[in-house]
């Protein structure tokens, strides 16, 4: 580096430090702090308030930076703790929620398919009824009518999926509301003044759903109940 370049760097550095000194002096709390001032600005003012006998102005900058560094480290430590807590509390729940949402899709599809199959069978039975009537076969007609009633009754049973998927969706909703609340708490760490108060997002009543509700393996689950109540 040439002598001229060194002088230029020194000049630039000195100018930058003077600018910082000017800004820090401007921030010094000569007047009472506004009650609406942002908490972060208030904290910075507190940092700048050096006790009597301590260096002031530009000479105080290293001390201020050191204290600022300590504050930033403390905030980072808090953020790490928050992240760990968030991970521990939510990752498992989110995985479970994801599984439940997939199950909602499959339960809906299975029920729709079962009902469509039953409708196909019912339509065939109506054709059989017409044929039996045309041929004057009363006994066969009566038998087909009984089968048709059973088929329609079976369709109603397929609709039980609605109650179970409602519970699965209520569980998913409760997990998302819980996540929202946790994330808002973290956001408040950064900027408490700008985090809006949530308007009426309510978690579903935990008494109205079973987090493990499922349409699967009903026979096996019934066997467990039968064993206990025998």
């Amino acid at each position: 580096m040439t002598m001229a370049a060194r002088h230029e760097v020194l000049y630039e550095t000195e100018a930058a430090l003077r600018l910082v000194d000017h800004e820090l002096t401007a921030l010094r709390p000569d007047e009472p702090v506004s009650p609406t001032e942002h908490p972060a600005a208030m904290h910075l003012r507190a940092l700048l308030n050096q006790p009597e006998g301590q260096p002031v102005g530009l000479a105080a900058l290293p001390f201020i930076l050191e204290r600022a560094n300590q504050e930033i480290q403390a905030v980072l430590a808090n953020l790490r703790d928050s992240r760990d807590a968030l991970e521990t509390a939510t990752v498992e729940k989110l995985q479970h929620t994801s599984e439940k949402l997939k199950e909602v899709t499959s339960a809906t599809e299975v029920a729709a398919t079962d009902i469509l199959d039953a409708l196909d069978r019912a339509q065939n039975m109506i054709d059989d009824l017409d044929a039996a009537d045309a041929a004057g076969e009363k006994e066969k007609g009566q038998h087909t009518r009984d089968l048709l009633r059973e088929e329609i009754f079976g369709m109603m049973g397929c609709l039980q999926f609605q109650d179970i998927t409602t519970q699965q969706l209520a569980y998913a909703s409760s997990v998302l509301t819980d996540m929202e609340s946790r994330l808002l708490n973290i956001a408040k760490l950064f900027d408490p003044a700008t985090v809006m108060v949530r308007a009426g997002t309510q978690s579903p009543d935990a008494r109205t759903f079973d987090p493990n509700a499922t349409t699967r393996n009903a026979d096996q689950r019934q066997a467990v109940a039968d064993e206990i109540f025998k």
């Binding site: 049973g157 039980q160 109650d163 008494r207 109205t208 493990n212 509700a213 009903a218």
Partner: protein
Amino acid sequence: MKFLVVDDSSTMRRIVVNSLQRIGFTDIVEAGDGKEALERYDATIKFVITDWNMPNMTGTELAKALREKGEQVPILMVTARSVREDIIEAMEAGVNNYIVKPFTPQILKEKIDALMSVAAG
């Protein structure tokens, strides 16, 4: 014979009521939760079929409340809950038998028949 069917899902109430009618029981009272069931319960009710998860008062709370009143009416729980600990909790609350959702009309008939024969002594 009068039945009290308790479920917060109107779809489920309709399915249970329809199943009972198919079996041959037509005298049926409905309630949307345990609290409403307690209000509607009287001495003419001879059989209670209840869900577990409901607002205001759950099925197990309803069973406990009925037993604390000294009611011996058969209580059949029809619920999606199927963890062993839950089933035991229901039994301890005073539930007499347990059906896991989704159920078939055949299971409902079997359980009702079994409880009625026990009640008949």
